[in-house]
């Protein structure tokens, strides 16, 4: 198994993740669905190594990475509000991590081409980027270091419909053409429908349901149906 979370528990400022377990294959597009406050970001932080779990383990390619610090995990992370470094230029942002990793010119060009951000590289500051541009720069930054796994925290939030369309297309082709394994966290099923094959539903700090997307949509659990899906027809 490429990536596996096993019985992870984490208590943080009164909120707790309870016995989280799921796994995914290499090159898979995995969706993590949950309402606001379900603990999605906390789980991502634990996977990225920004928090150490209280108990449980995280495995990557068969190795236990639970105690590895974030900088040694090779997990890319697209933060919800991009978290671009405001004091650096666009190019300095994207090349930030390459001080610690071997740059791969061909791979970088492929990423830039796919995201269509070549002309943004000349921009001096990141403050004046549009929402969609900033998201793509942040994406390029996290991809530049060739992560083994890419975490996306609400990658379409705060974007206008056109930018959403472009970003989701880029994400799909990153996964299909370059073969990057992705965990996409969202509260909106529509974002990942048709792209993600498997998904897990996080609810109040625990995984309520996991499996293939189609199956989860056709056979939703009753309490999720009421409290999460609402009355909307999915």
């Amino acid at each position: 198994m490429f990536f596996k979370v096993n019985g992870l528990n984490k208590n943080w400022e009164g909120f707790s993740l309870k016995d989280i377990s799921f796994e995914m294959e290499e090159g898979e597009y995995f969706a993590l669905l949950g309402p606001c406050g379900a603990g999605k970001t906390l789980l991502l932080n634990a996977i990225a190594g920004l928090y150490r779990p209280d108990s449980g383990n995280i495995f990557m390619k068969g190795h236990r990475v639970t105690l590895l610090p974030a900088e040694k995990r090779s997990v890319g992370y697209l933060f919800q509000k991009d978290a671009l470094f405001p004091h650096l230029s666009v190019k300095e942002n994207i090349y930030y991590g390459l001080k610690y990793h071997q740059p791969d010119k061909k791979y970088l060009d492929a990423i830039f081409q796919l995201l269509g951000i070549q002309e943004l590289l000349a921009r001096r500051d990141t403050v004046n980027l549009s929402g969609g541009e900033a998201r793509k720069v942040a994406l390029a930054r996290s991809l530049a270091v060739k992560p083994r796994l890419l975490l996306l925290d609400e990658p379409l939030s705060f974007l206008d419909p056109l930018s959403r369309q472009k970003v989701i297309q880029s994400l799909e082709s990153l996964n299909k053409q370059i073969g990057i394994s992705i965990i996409h966290v969202t509260h909106d099923l529509q974002e990942v429908r048709g792209i993600a094959k498997n998904m897990a539903i996080l609810f109040e700090g625990a995984i309520a349901q996991a499996g293939p997307v189609d199956k989860l949509i056709s056979e939703p659990l009753d309490f999720l149906k009421e409290r999460f899906w609402g009355n909307s027809n999915v």
């Binding site: 190594g49 920004l50 900088e71 001080k99 990793h101 500051d125 992560p147």
Partner: protein, 392 residues
């Protein structure tokens, strides 16, 4: 033609009316002023509305009643009339003239200070109103300006008391130069020492939660709470010639801490550290944790993240704290009087001269000290501004 007519009327008025109040010389000056007033009045009447003209006359009436009749400042009245006639057409300046007249007539001993302060107040209040169109904020500003006045008035007052000659002679005083030099060197060194030790500490305080943090957080403020003389006594007990540290330093390095540069620096570090550390904590708290997280996931270690993200982004705030600490160190007197009266720093020297020679002797020095400190801080702020611009 009308001007000639007016002139004749004025001439008559002066012979009959003003002559009974003032001597003929003053009368002539007032006549000239009045003629200018009348001349301008005709122009106002022709070019602008009747209301403006009445307003113009009303202003003159006020001047006449308050300055001429009540204050009996005849020549001043003539000058005001000339200024009023000239400035009435430049509406922006009119309030300043009113302020000047008000201060001269009602607060004569402090007229210069009061008119400067009121002028500044009007300038800011007017600006605030014109940019925000909010009366509420003008009222808030007016309340706040009272505290500004309490700060600025004494400084402004002694600034306006000294002459350039006395400043120059104070500056040529070797002892004062030496004291100023001592002040700048010691406060510079102590602020740098706080910078080196305070910044790492501030980063921990800003980023991590640990038990006992609240106690540490309050300890930072301790030097602000303790009276300065007590600080001096405490330091003297710990570092003085009879203490183990003092004895050790004297035996091995031939260095006295008390009554030496080391003593000055120790006292300055003690009193000024809260300002830098507090600013640095605030600056680090202002850096989004997400940025540091992003840096970590990109492969940067905690140390590299600190150097490449946290420190550059907090630099401007830390620099502000550095300036504050420097200012605090520079102005320290109380603890220095106990632990290191000699070598004298500039504030101590001024105090020393005051005790020996009295108030008039030290005024130019005090002003000089304020000026040199102001220059130092303006320079540092400018440097900080450049840093911020460069960082962007």
């Amino acid at each position: 033609m009308i001007y000639l007519f007016l002139f004749v009327i004025l001439l008559g008025l002066h012979f009959i009316f003003f002559a009974s109040f003032v001597d003929s010389g003053t009368n002539a000056v007032i006549l000239a002023a009045n003629f200018l007033f009348a001349f301008n009045g005709v122009k106002v009447y022709r070019r602008e509305s009747l209301n403006k003209f009445i307003l113009y006359l009303f202003g003159y009436l006020l001047l006449f009643v308050f300055v001429f009749l009540l204050s009996k400042a005849n020549l001043l009245f003539a000058i005001f009339v000339i200024l009023y006639s000239a400035i009435f057409n430049i509406r922006r300046l009119l309030p300043y003239l009113i302020i000047l007249i008000f201060s001269l007539v009602f607060v004569t001993p402090y007229w210069l200070q009061v008119s400067v302060l009121l002028g500044a107040f009007y300038f800011f209040a007017d600006n605030i109103y014109k940019t925000t169109y909010s009366r509420f904020f003008v009222v808030l500003f007016s309340i706040g300006f009272i505290s500004i006045i309490l700060i600025i008035f004494p400084i402004l007052y002694i600034f306006l008391q000294v002459t350039p000659q006395s400043l120059l002679s104070a500056f040529k005083n070797n002892e004062f130069q030496q004291a100023l030099f001592n002040s700048l060197i010691t406060s510079g060194i102590s602020s740098l020492i706080i910078l080196i030790f305070g910044v790492p500490f501030a980063y921990v305080m800003a980023r991590k939660n640990f038990s006992g943090k609240g106690v540490l957080d309050n300890l930072i403020n301790l030097p602000i709470l303790i009276p300065q003389t007590v600080v001096g006594v405490a330091l003297l007990v710990v570092l003085g010639p009879k203490s183990p540290v003092g004895e050790f330093m004297f035996k091995n390095c031939r260095l006295a801490i008390a009554n030496g540069y080391l003593g000055i620096i120790a006292a300055q570090i003690f009193v000024s550290s809260p300002f830098l550390i507090r600013s640095a904590i605030n600056a680090f708290e202002g850096v989004d944790q997400k940025l540091e997280d992003a840096s970590r996931t990109l492969g940067a270690s905690e140390f590299n993240t600190f150097m490449r993200i946290s420190l550059p982004l907090a630099a401007s705030g830390i620099f502000s704290g550095f300036i504050l600490a420097l200012a605090r160190a520079l102005s320290e007197v109380g603890s220095l009087m106990v632990i290191a009266y000699h070598p004298m720093t500039a504030p101590i020297y001024i105090y020393d001269q005051f005790i020996q020679y009295g108030l008039s002797e030290i005024q130019p020095m005090a002003v000089l000290l304020v000026i040199s400190c102001l220059w130092a801080f303006i320079g540092l702020h400018w440097l900080r501004h450049q840093l911020v611009r460069k960082a962007k």
